[in-house]
Amino acid sequence: MLRRLVLVLLAAVLSACGRSEPDDGMIHIRYLASPDVGGFSKVIIERFERAHPGLKVDMIEGPAAGDARENMYSTAFMGEEDSYDLAYVDVAWVPKFAAQGWLLPLDALMPAAELDNFLPGDVTGSRYQGKLYRVPIQSDGGMLYYRKDLLAEKNIPVPRTWEELVSAAKKTRTSSIAGFVFQGKQYEGLVCGFLELVWGFGGDLLDSSGNVRIEEPPAVAALSALVDAIHVDGIVPQSVLTYQEEETRNVFQEGRAVFMRNWPYAWNLMQQEGSPVRGKIGIVPMVAGPGGKPAATLGGWGFAVSAYSRHPQEAYAVAEFFASAESQKLAFFKGGILPSRRALYSDPDVLKAAPHMKDLGRVLAYARPRPTHPRWPRMSDALQMHVSAALSRQEEPAEALRAAAVEIRAAARR
């Protein structure tokens, strides 16, 4: 009896050592993606595979959280694995990945003339130390959503400055409808929203010479404005400190907020059948502070080729295909994905289906990337921590930004 048990267990061990991957003679190009909204990726992949027999594209749907996927890519690349041939990377990851030597430079594969067809912000965000490391596929920029109907009721014009936003919010909020919601949780999204306001107030994180400027008055004013909005003006509920994108969208979509800072993805979802705010929303660039200009933090995704891939040429072919005008148009119509090609923002089909794309194009013209520094994660964490501390009243805005500046300088120096 015991012997049989031992044999069974040994068999289990042996089977555990067996091969766990199929071998079908095709070349597999693998990448890790976020959830395939609308299924557009599958359609594009099908088209690609039909045009390239012998190649198979394995899109691995990963967790929704960008940080988690970044972790997974980092872990794979640190081990020099060929788990992924392509990396679908956020603009913020490009410097870090490229600095580690994990990505192949693509300048030889993509002609400069072709690059002109893409939005300039997206191209800048795809470069590191002058070399191109990413084919921009998806553009993204933070913006301000507002409830047309609630503003119209009280005859309030769409706010263009922070002061106008605060007064509009005060006039339209009720006990069940908050004034303004944004992503206030301690994560990368917080930095995106915060930087928008900093730029809007005329400040900056790093200037063009690489000096840290985040502790200067404009940035402090921006942070104080946010802190006051939560704790003094009462137009922002305290729960925003746990919000990421979906929480803010849910609140706004259920009609429980007048203004929302979010990414363009929310638009399509909120205009669908059954959405309580369908037809009642508008978008503008984020408001500016006194003496500043409106800004949008550049988001956006694209395909980078892994330096450890065994099929880099084929991988690039996939990236190129996804970046083509037809694919981007399909992605837009099926998944609400914003194109990175400039022409599509004045494309008649696109404008007919979504007239707001013109406004979006304008917002994206204001889009600025976060600093392209390989030490960005540490700098972002420092900023996230202190901004979050200020928002939850653990630190005063001025001292929070001063502390952040010290840490960011230390990180930038190395």
């Binding site: 870090k96 301690q186 729960s239 400190l241 746990t242 921590m385 501390a389 939850s392 010290v406």
Partner: protein, 278 residues
């Protein structure tokens, strides 16, 4: 008669495979880490290091203290036989047996700011003003959320350890104390507690070491936030290596962690022995 208990190097053959495994998988990487470590000077200037250590130490102290108190209570309730004790013990063991990372997701849902059941329950009990409490957005409540989740998970382990200690106390001592007129409370302080001391010391040291290295729970529940206020040293070291790609400094942090553990164990053992001498 062959006496196999005679010492001989050949007996090592039995232990060799196990030693090989442990050596390769545990000892080698530890050695590697020590070898890769560098940039020790940064430990002195790193502004994140001391707050993180403070958080880790206070988390350890608070959690172990609570576990001990609750574990003792549970042990006292569950160790004498009663109908259904097996089932009760099984129920009590479940928190310990469930995967930490997985249950951390469950706790995140319980502490959710908008739809979390914790806020709702406390609201219905009249303890908070609104059912929507941003637990994980405030440094203090996030800290206590972690304490709650960790104490929930590890109390059973403490209880089991303490039960084994309780089982070792001879009944005659209780009877003698009862004859002397001691009520149940006095019996506890005069008989139970002193004889449990060695078990308590072992349990506390063991648990303190484990809590010091807490990773899964913090990583999944708060990610170290808000404001980095719940970041433990293990989470920080992980971030340094995997997010910041600072391998040498990350390993230095791990070395520092190991040294702290050794120091902590030494201090606790010393305190325990000092107490015994008295």
């Amino acid at each position: 008669m062959r006496d196999h208990s005679r010492a001989g190097a050949v007996n090592w053959l039995y232990a060799a495979p196990a030693m090989l495994f442990m050596g390769v998988v545990s000892l080698l990487p530890i050695g590697y880490t020590f070898g890769l470590a560098g940039e020790y000077h940064r430990l002195a200037v790193d502004t994140r290091f001391w707050p993180v250590m403070r958080t880790t130490l206070s988390l350890t102290a608070v959690t172990v203290a609570l576990e001990l108190a609750l574990g003792l209570a549970v042990a006292l309730v569950l160790w004498s036989p009663f109908p259904g004790r097996g089932l009760a013990r099984a129920a009590v063991l479940i928190p310990w047996a469930l995967p930490t990372a997985v249950m951390a997701m469950a706790w995140r849902w319980i502490f959710n700011a908008d739809s979390g059941v914790m806020g709702d329950l406390l609201f219905r009990l009249g303890l908070v003003a609104s059912p929507q409490v941003p637990w994980l957005a405030d440094a203090t409540s996030a800290f206590w959320a972690i304490v709650l989740a960790d104490v929930w998970k590890t109390t059973p382990f403490m209880a089991v350890l303490l039960m084994s200690g309780l089982a070792a106390i001879p009944d005659e001592l209780y009877e003698a104390a009862a004859i002397d007129g001691a009520g149940p409370v006095r019996r506890f302080f005069v008989v139970t507690l002193p004889l449990l001391k060695s078990t308590i010391v072992v349990a506390v040291i063991f648990r303190a070491i484990q809590t010091f290295g807490l990773f899964d729970l913090v990583f999944v529940l708060t990610g170290g936030g808000p404001g980095g206020r719940t970041q433990t040293i293990a989470v920080y070291a992980y971030d340094v290596v995997f997010r910041y790609q600072e391998l040498a400094y990350g390993c230095a942090l791990v070395v520092a962690m190991a040294l702290c553990l050794v120091l902590m164990t030494g201090v606790m053992l010393g305190a325990a022995r000092g107490g015994k001498a008295r």
